[in-house]
């Protein structure tokens, strides 16, 4: 059980996050939503102490994560950064790195087996001996997620995990994430821009606005009003083939001018 209490974060006296509090049960996915620059990534980084909050605590099974040493923390919390760098390292080695918090200097067969299985599960077998600097952005993103999976954390933090993936890969990866999280009972916090994907795969949402929690709850409870309050744009929410779809409804529609431009 993740219990986040009163997180405050300031960057050189400029307050970014105030009074952030929420909880999350194991095996559930929480999506953090909010406009650009509201502090979604910062909040995620506060949860595993990459950024040190000014106040507040992050309790995972009643243990305060913020007072752990980095290696202790890494054994419990997995983090997938928004951007990662490439190196002349194979996919297999890059994923194997996720076992680092659990292994010593020597790699055990057990670690290799976990990595092999995860690579197969994410459909990366064909790439496993390719160098990272030869991969596409989407493939790289899959590698980062595979690394977090082999870390076998109890709390998984994902920052825009599918931003570089095409529709099919996005769908497949999130479905896989969904089942892995359920199966291992991992509490998962994810940031995302695509509202439709977020509402489809997450269990709960947290809306951030001006550094504060505007609302949180189960995704079924999200309303056009809340989304408008967060993003300052009127929307309607429809259900198409069982999936919730958010449609923006700007007051002035720009579509009317488009055909004229094309006709020129």
């Amino acid at each position: 059980m993740l219990d986040v209490q009163d997180i405050h974060f300031a960057y050189r006296n400029r307050a970014i996050l105030n009074d952030i509090a929420f909880d999350l049960k194991p095996g559930r996915i929480l999506v953090i939503l909010g406009p650009n620059g509201v502090g979604k990534t910062t909040l995620l980084k506060c949860l595993n102490a990459i950024q040190k909050p000014k106040a507040g605590s992050v309790l995972l099974d009643s243990e305060n994560l913020l007072s752990l040493t980095p290696p202790q923390l890494a054994a419990k919390v997995g983090y997938v950064a928004q951007k990662s760098q490439t190196a002349r390292l194979t996919v297999f080695d890059a994923v194997l790195m996720g076992r680092k918090p659990h292994m010593g200097w020597r790699v055990k067969d057990h670690d290799l087996a976990i990595v092999g299985e995860t690579i197969a599960r994410l459909g990366l077998e064909a790439l496993s001996l390719r160098y990272l600097d030869e991969l596409s952005g989407g493939e790289l993103q899959k590698v980062s997620i595979a690394r977090a999976f082999v870390q076998q954390p109890r709390l998984l933090l994902l920052d825009e995990p599918t931003s570089a993936l095409d529709m099919r890969n996005q769908f497949e990866l999130l479905s896989l994430l969904f089942s892995v999280v359920r199966e291992r009972k991992t509490a998962t916090v994810v940031t995302m821009h695509d509202l439709n994907t977020a509402l489809r795969f997450a269990d709960e949402f947290l809306l951030l606005k001006d550094g504060r929690v505007l609302a949180r709850g189960a995704v079924e409870e999200i309303s056009p009003k809340l989304i408008e309050a967060t993003y300052d744009i009127p929307v309607s929410i429809h259900t198409i083939d069982g999936a919730p779809v958010v449609v923006p409804k700007p007051t002035e529609t720009p579509t009317a001018t488009r055909p004229t431009i094309l006709a020129e």
Binding site: K45, Y79, A87, M97, L112, E117, I119, A120, R121, D133
Partner: protein, 357 residues
């Protein structure tokens, strides 16, 4: 089916790892003939048989014993130690500074050492009377010069560390500080050279030629005393360097104390460089080029890159040192002249050939 895919996965990986281990083994084996050649070749050639006999302590001609143990072996061991130390420092620096130009030279360490040497030549060394047998080499007081060079390189390292601590140990801060310090110390050296007389000037310039023949067994012992623990530290951090290559945040997420690792590695690499250049003079390019060469062959996995750089650096400098003794025989070139002459074309070739990453 899933299991099968996973098995071929692991099999392929095991093969791949074995290939890397093989490259390291080959490098290590190549050291043996390189060492024997280094001991045998030179103005006074020693037959290979006598070299081997002398090395294993068997009954070799007295002349060979003296040449091998008193002249060639210290020089060869100094070359191997310095090459290994410079190359492994370069590999570690390139990782923590996230910069392909990273090497302790980028950080102004060698400039600081040169300044330290020049300063001591001005202050103390030049008073020494040139001795009859030593010629130009004995113009300065080697102990004072070495100590001063070492002191100033440590000062440079300490300054960079200090500024990085205050400003945050980001690669940019460290590289920029290093470049700035490098040019400060270069200016200082030029200032001293401007006011030096011919003998002092000759001594200053002579010192900067990195030359492995300067090392005595005692010097070698001191170099080894630093090289060994620092190399072990670097290799012990191999997973952390791999993690840093994936990005600072990813590394932090994997439990790496990124800033601390960056500071300690930087300081350790500077120390390692400082100790070899203070005793031997400036040997450029090994620290920069060897890790790049090795990376082309076995990739950037630091579990293999660091040991391979260590051995590759030793091998390269040993071969270059032997070559420096032979190219203009009976004249002997300082090895530093040759490393750059050899290093630059090889380096450019690697860049051109490896255009697609």
């Amino acid at each position: 089916m899933m299991l099968k895919a996973c098995d071929t996965n692991l099999g392929g990986y095991a093969l791949y790892i074995r290939r890397k281990a093989l490259v390291i083994a080959v490098l290590l084996l190549a050291l043996v003939p390189a060492l024997i050649a280094a001991l045998s070749l030179g103005a006074a050639a020693v037959p290979i048989k006598d070299v081997v006999l002398s090395l294993i302590g068997a009954d070799a001609p007295r002349r060979s014993d003296i040449i091998v143990w008193s002249i060639r072996l210290p020089q060869a061991v100094a070359a191997m130690l310095a090459g290994a130390g410079l190359a492994v420092s370069g590999a570690a620096m390139q990782s923590v500074l996230r910069n392909p130009l990273g090497s302790p030279f980028t950080l102004g360490i060698s400039h600081a050492a040169a300044f330290g040497a020049a300063l001591s030549v001005m202050a103390v060394g030049a008073m020494e009377i040139p001795s009859a047998e030593g010629g130009a080499v004995a113009v300065y007081n080697p102990v004072a010069v070495t100590l001063s060079a070492f002191g100033f390189s440590l000062l440079a390292a300490a300054l960079i560390t200090l500024i990085a601590r205050v400003r945050g140990a980001s690669p940019e801060v460290m590289v920029l500080t290093g470049v700035a310090l490098g040019s400060l110390f270069t200016a200082g050296t030029m200032f001293l050279q401007f006011f030096a007389d011919d003998v002092q000037l000759a001594a200053m310039v002579f010192w900067t030629f990195g030359d492995t023949a300067r090392a005595t067994w005692r010097d070698i012992g001191l170099i080894a005393a630093v090289t060994l623990p620092v190399s072990i530290y670097f290799i012990a951090q191999c997973w952390n360097y791999n993690a840093i290559d994936a990005g600072d945040e990813t590394a932090q997420g994997l439990g790496v104390r990124v800033e601390r690792l960056r500071l300690v590695s930087m300081f350790a690499a500077s120390l390692l460089t400082a100790v070899s250049i203070s005793f031997l003079g400036i040997i450029g390019f090994v620290g920069l080029v060897v890790p790049h060469m090795v990376r082309r062959v076995i990739g950037a996995d630091h579990r293999f890159l660091l040991p391979a750089s260590l051995i590759g650096g030793a091998l390269l400098l040993l071969v270059a040192d032997t070559a420096a003794r032979l190219v203009l025989s009976p004249n002997v070139l300082p090895v530093s002249v040759l490393t750059s002459f050899l290093g630059v074309p090889v380096f450019l070739w690697l860049i051109l050939r490896g255009g697609r990453h």
